[in-house]
Structures are given as structure tokens and as C-alpha cells.
Amino acid sequence: MILTVGFIVNPIAGMGGRVGLKGTDNVVEEAKRKGAKPVSPFKAREAIKEYVEKYNDDIRWVTCSGIMGENILRENGIKSVEVIYNVTSRDTSAKDTKNACKLFVEYPVDLIVFCGGDGTARDITSIVGTRIPILGIPSGVKMHSGVFAINPRIAARVIHEFANHKLTVGDVEIMDLDEEKYRQGEWNIKLFGIAKGIVEPIYVQVGKMSFESIPEDDIKDELAEYIEDEMKDNPEYVYFFGSGSTIDYIARKLGLSNTLLGIDAVYRGKTIAQDLDEKGILDILDRYPKAKLILSPIGAQGFILGRGNLQISPKVIRKIGIDNIIVVATPSKLAATPLIRIDTGDKEIDKLFAMKEQMLVIIGYRLMRVVKIQTNNI
């Protein structure tokens, strides 16, 4: 079966970066006044050129007119291009991205390849949800979401490998700057939701040279089983469930109502509080002095602390104790980010992690792996 790819370029993505803006959302005019030049068409061109020169599988391309996709595909000699969305104004906007995505869903395409940053990923996810996998050609100012290839040339390879069934689909987090907080002078990368991204399959050896890929959900089931045992063995502890797709899956598997984007508390197998802020967590810690915190790397860079979960403040971490942090991850997440990153904003705590150098991450039922830690201290 021929793969159908929805291709979309956000022509203004990344423009804010060179002129010192933290993004291009809502500030296009300001960026242009400051002399910002388009970035994403070059990145998109680099990816598509590489793709055509090196791989050029039989793919059906579905795209938007002009600068939002069509031009780059045609100028690289791709014949099978269908334009399903016409850009009407010269200045494209988030609305164009969203409208095009609605048509991608209707079509439906097998994969959406976009060129942009976190803002673009958010716009796309708001329409597509987890129905269609997304791959980002990185071009934005912020790229914390887990949908981006490392660079445009790798993006080309990922398309090729996905078309040839060498890569598979898995849950990834969509993250972006919390604009509300940013306007108040706070730099906070917030978790916005979950999308389907392209991930490395998890292989188990079945024969001498034959391997079978196992579904990501099977691994998450194992993680859930492990956490269930862990909670049973330590009934006196309250467990804080962190945010992100892996922990959300585990919580749901255990029959707990969980807040995907927030922190919940579980005691003796029951959710006792949901979507806690820092104060809420500290209140619980006053009532239940023995606590453990379950975290998983979220987004593109493997952060477990400091991105998308600022309610887990230095004060909270101190109270819980870093030895009571349980980190879980699927092998495909670790394949994408073989480091665990930490940026708590508190030098002392970051140093405690830096001194550990490596930590044990739960990657299956009673199965752990040693993973390097990176903090701002190093």
C-alpha cells in the first residue's frame, strides 16, 4: 500500500528566534519589523531535497498551495502532489494550519509531515489529536515536543523508514511555552497534550537473527504491573503520579482516574487528589510523610523534571527525597532520548542529581536499565 503523507510548512515558524523573541506566536509583525527572515522554507526544502535524492519511495503527497507546501514538493520534482487546501492570504496563520489539518483528517492521510516548531505542533494536534501520526521537520524557536526529528536530513530518513515499516507509531508529548506565565515574566514549558509520533520499534529476539517488534502498550502494561506491585509492597506510601503519556497509561491501566497533564496523588490504590499544584502537593506531604514520585521523560529532550511539571517544585522534591523518585520509560522513549534530563531551577537539587550521574529507569516488569543523567550543573 502506498503511503499518503500530508505535508505542511508553517512559513513563519522560527522567525522569532534570530531577533530574540521566544517564538513567533502572535508576534509575527514584531518579528518582521525587527528584520526576521523566514527559516522554515529552507529547512523544509533541505528535508525534501534529501528525501528525493536519497530515498524517493512511492509516496502520495497531499499538501497546501504555494509556500505552505506545494512549492517545495514541486521544485524537488515530486509528481504525485495533490493540493487540498488553498492558502488565500499572503500572510499565513495558525488558522490555515488548522484548516489544512481538518482536510488531512478527512482525506485521510497516513502521516502528517510538518515544518515548524512547538506552536505548529500544538496547532496540528489540536485538530488531529492522536488519530494521525505527526513528524516535525525542526524549524521553530522552541522544539520541546516529542514529534521532531533531530534535523531536516534525519526527518527525510524517518519518512523513508516509516514508509518501509522500519519505524512505528507511539505516544509523544506536545509541549510549548506557557504564554500566560511568560507574559508574567516566567519561563515555563507546559505539557499541552499527547500526539502520535514516529518511534523506534521495541524488538525482542525470537530466532538467531529474527526479531519481533512488540507493541509499546505491552511494555506499558508491564510498567503498570510493576507499579502495582510497588504500591502493594509499600502500602504506607502515598504515590504521586507525574504527567505525560506513559504515566497516564499506567494510571488508567490500574483503574485510576488520572490527569494527563497534571500531578495526582494515590494512596492505598485510590486516587486521593487530582491535578495538584505545588501547594496541594505540599499539603498532602504534610499529611502523608512517606511519599514516592513516579516520573517519566516527557517531550523531545528526555526531561523528567523542569519541563511540563513545575508544580513539582524544589521544595516538593526535597520533601519527597530524590531516592523516592521512580522513573519509568518505554525502551522506544529511551531510544529517542538516551539521557534523563533534569532542570529543577534549584542548584542544590540539580547537583544532587548530577552527583548521581546515572539512575535506574524502570523499562519493564521488574526490569531496570542504567541511564545517564544530565543537569545544568554539568
Partner: protein
């Protein structure tokens, strides 16, 4: 509707489509440096027969004599009525050879790992395993109810981290498991450092020395190589590789062997070796002890080949033993190279993703004590030609 056997054919076809099926090439005679594979004369670069004992006259003679004396089969499980005096003689010989109190044999090295590991550790214990350990260790570990921690290959800092973390929990037992020589890269486990850490953190050591026996420590294996024969608690090995015959083995304290006799299910529930296998195994150990030059020739060949193939521009990775990989990059290229080598009369195996990293696909070249200089130069010339043709070097 519930499925019946049609899944067998369907899954096979699926694997075949993806090029994942194992195509068996059969030898038309004994396994030795020069073989006939499917009617084609080849130099053998893919066998584990490092010391060229598989067709050694002493082993053949011992096997034939044993058949004449004991017959073709053992008649029963080892534990019931299948143990013959020749099996006991073999156990004694292994213990002597390995420098341990006692020893026992298993059907294969796989059976030793799969049958022993789950008995050594259970709930409340921790098994620590190198990420590149052989599949039989991985399966043995999987069968155990213990917690399992995997560390990046030969990363002693990471191993220490696991041991440090283990000290924070009250595990009943902790065992570090490692291959002696790693089969895809040909590098040697850092046994001296592992031993130091194991002592410091009160952990036991379990080594599968399948590719180290006959190769390291004058042929006695990794224990002798590091002078740690008594310190490695569980020594697994095999007669199927450098020793040229067949079957797995376990060497260690007499308590360990008594424990294995009574607890290891793969041992308890399997038939004993045919007597001639035991006889050939005894002969193999005697040959290694007597013909000292054999191990030396293996190493001379290894050094020459490694030096020359590297000077052609090939990447041999971390090889430290007669397993000398030539890393060529992507899987397609490695497969292509293996096919071309075969066309040129060299039988070698391509190792591809996901056995090794995507960009580290390779040919695994395995040296033999009885290659002569001419054989090695033939191989090197073909490598030089194909390396240029396929733009590898």
C-alpha cells in the same frame, strides 16, 4: 473464529517477505578451515571451531572407542539411570581444567543458563546483566522472579551505580551476569573490575565463557586469564565451540554442583549425553592441555588478520579476541558483502540490525588455529577487492 495451524505458514511467509528467515547452508563434510558448503569449496570464517578440534583425530578416536564400549545412547536422564562412569570422568576432568572444586555438564550452554539462573535468584533478589549478554542469559534471567537491572555494555560506572542503588534496598542476593567474550564484538568482559566491584558490594559473579574457552588463559578460559578461577562463583561454558565437540558445562564449588543436580530443571529432566560425546569432550580438554601450540597459533592468526584487515581500512570495532568483526555500516551492505564473500569462496556471516546498531552492521570473522598464511592472505585479498567494489574502504 478461533485460529488453527494456518498461522504457522502465514507468519513464516511474513518473515520471508521481510527477509528475516534463516537460510540454512549445509556442509558436505567435516567442519574445518576448508569446507564444502552446498557443493562449493570455501574457507570457513563463520564457525566457532577456533582450535580446529571438531575433526581432530584424538576426538574422533575417543568417540569411536566410547561407542564400542558404551553404545550409542545413555538410556535415561542423568538424574535417573543415564549417568555412566565416563560422564563422571568428564565432570572431574572439567573441574581440573577449570581449577574449580567440581563440575557438571548440560545438554547445551543454553540449557545451563535457562535451567540454572532462575534457580539462583528469585523474589527479593537482583540480577544485574550486561546489555550485550547472550540470549540464553537473557532468557534465564527472564525466567527468574528476581528484579533485573541492565547496564550499558561493559560500563563499570553504570554497574557500580546499580550496586550502589542495590545497597539502598535489602536484596537477599545480588548476582552480576556477563559473557566472558562478547560474541558480536569479540571484546573481553572486564572481569578484574567486575570482581573488585562484586567484592566491594557483596555480589556474586556468573560468567558464560562460551567464546573465551580454548581462547583465553592458555585455553582454560576467562578465569585463568584474570587469575580468578576460584573467585568466579558460577562458570558456564560449552564444548560446542573451541573444544570442537558438543554440550554445555557448569564449573564451581561442590555445593553449586550439588545444588544444580537437584534444582536445575533442564538438567534433571533431560537425557544424558550419548557416551561418545562425553568421551570426545574429555579428549578435547586433553588435546588443549597437550598441544599448547594450538592456542598460540590461533592468536598468531588473529593478530596477523586483525593487523592486515585494519591496514586495508576496515573497522574492527573493539575486538580483542579471534572474533574480528569488519564493521561496514548499514545492514544491506553487510548482507551484500557476505554474499559476495561466499561467491569468492569465503563462508562468513553478516550480523545486522537489530542484532547490532543500525550503522554497525558487520561481518563476523572468526579465526582458526589451523588457517595457514596462504588462507589468511586469500581472505585479505578478497576483502581488499570487495571493500573497493562496495565502497567500504
Amino acid at each position: 473464529m478461533r485460529e488453527m495451524t494456518e498461522f504457522l505458514g502465514r507468519e513464516y511467509e511474513e518473515m520471508e517477505k521481510q527477509g528475516l528467515t534463516w537460510v540454512i547452508k549445509s556442509l558436505n563434510g567435516p567442519s574445518q578451515p576448508h569446507v564444502e558448503v552446498e557443493g562449493k569449496k570455501c574457507i570457513m570464517l563463520a564457525s566457532n571451531n577456533y582450535l580446529n578440534l571438531a575433526n581432530h583425530p584424538k576426538l574422533r578416536e575417543a568417540a569411536i572407542k566410547a561407542i564400542e564400549k558404551y553404545g550409542a545412547g545413555a538410556g535415561s536422564d542423568w538424574s535417573i539411570a543415564g549417568t555412566m562412569d565416563i560422564h563422571m570422568e568428564l565432570y572431574k576432568k572439567i573441574a581440573e581444567f577449570k581449577g574449580t572444586e567440581d563440575a557438571v555438564t548440560f545438554q547445551t550452554g543454553f540449557a545451563a543458563n535457562a535451567g540454572l539462573i532462575p534457580q539462583l535468584a528469585g523474589k527479593g533478589d537482583l540480577l544485574i546483566s550486561d546489555e550485550l549478554n547472550h540470549g540464553s542469559i537473557i532468557d534465564g534471567v527472564r525466567l527468574s522472579k528476581a528484579e533485573r537491572a541492565v547496564y550499558p555494555h561493559s560500563d563499570m560506572g553504570a554497574l557500580e551505580k546499580v550496586l550502589e542503588e542495590a545497597n539502598k534496598k535489602d536484596y537477599r542476593r545480588v548476582i552480576i551476569l556477563t559473557d566472558g567474550v562478547f560474541s558480536m564484538d569479540g571484546d573481553i568482559a572486564k572481569m578484574d573490575e567486575i570482581h573488585k566491584l562484586a567484592e566491594e558490594y557483596r555480589a556474586m559473579i556468573y560468567v558464560d565463557d562460551a567464546h573465551g574457552e580454548g581462547v583465553l588463559g592458555d585455553g582454560h578460559g576467562i578465569g585463568r586469564h584474570f587469575d580468578l578461577e576460584k573467585e568466579i562463583h558460577f562458570q558456564i561454558g560449552t564444548f560446542s565451540k573451541a573444544f570442537g565437540s558438543f554440550g554445555g558445562m557448569l564449573a564451581g564449588s561442590s555445593d553449586l554442583i550439588k545444588f544444580a543436580y537437584n534444582k536445575s530443571r533442564t538438567w534433571l529432566l533431560s537425557a544424558a549425553f550419548p557416551p561418545h560425546v562425553a568421551a570426545a569432550n574429555i579428549a578435547a580438554l586433553e588435546v588443549v592441555e597437550k598441544e599448547k601450540d594450538r592456542v598460540k597459533r590461533l592468536w598468531d592468526n588473529t593478530k596477523y588478520f586483525k593487523k592486515e584487515i585494519e591496514s586495508l581500512g576496515y573497522d574492527t570495532g573493539n575486538s580483542q579476541t579471534p572474533i574480528v568483526p569488519t564493521i561496514v555500516g548499514d545492514s544491506k551492505k553487510a548482507k551484500q558483502l557476505a554474499e559476495k564473500l561466499y561467491e569468492e569462496g569465503i563462508f562468513a556471516l553478516a550480523i545486522v540490525y537489530p542484532m547490532v546498531a543500525r550503522d554497525k552492521a558487520r561481518i563476523r570473522n572468526q579465526m582458526n588455529a589451523d588457517f595457514n598464511r596462504e588462507d589468511l592472505d586469500t581472505i585479505l585479498n578478497v576483502y581488499e577487492k570487495l571493500g573497493k567494489e562496495l565502497k567500504i574502504v
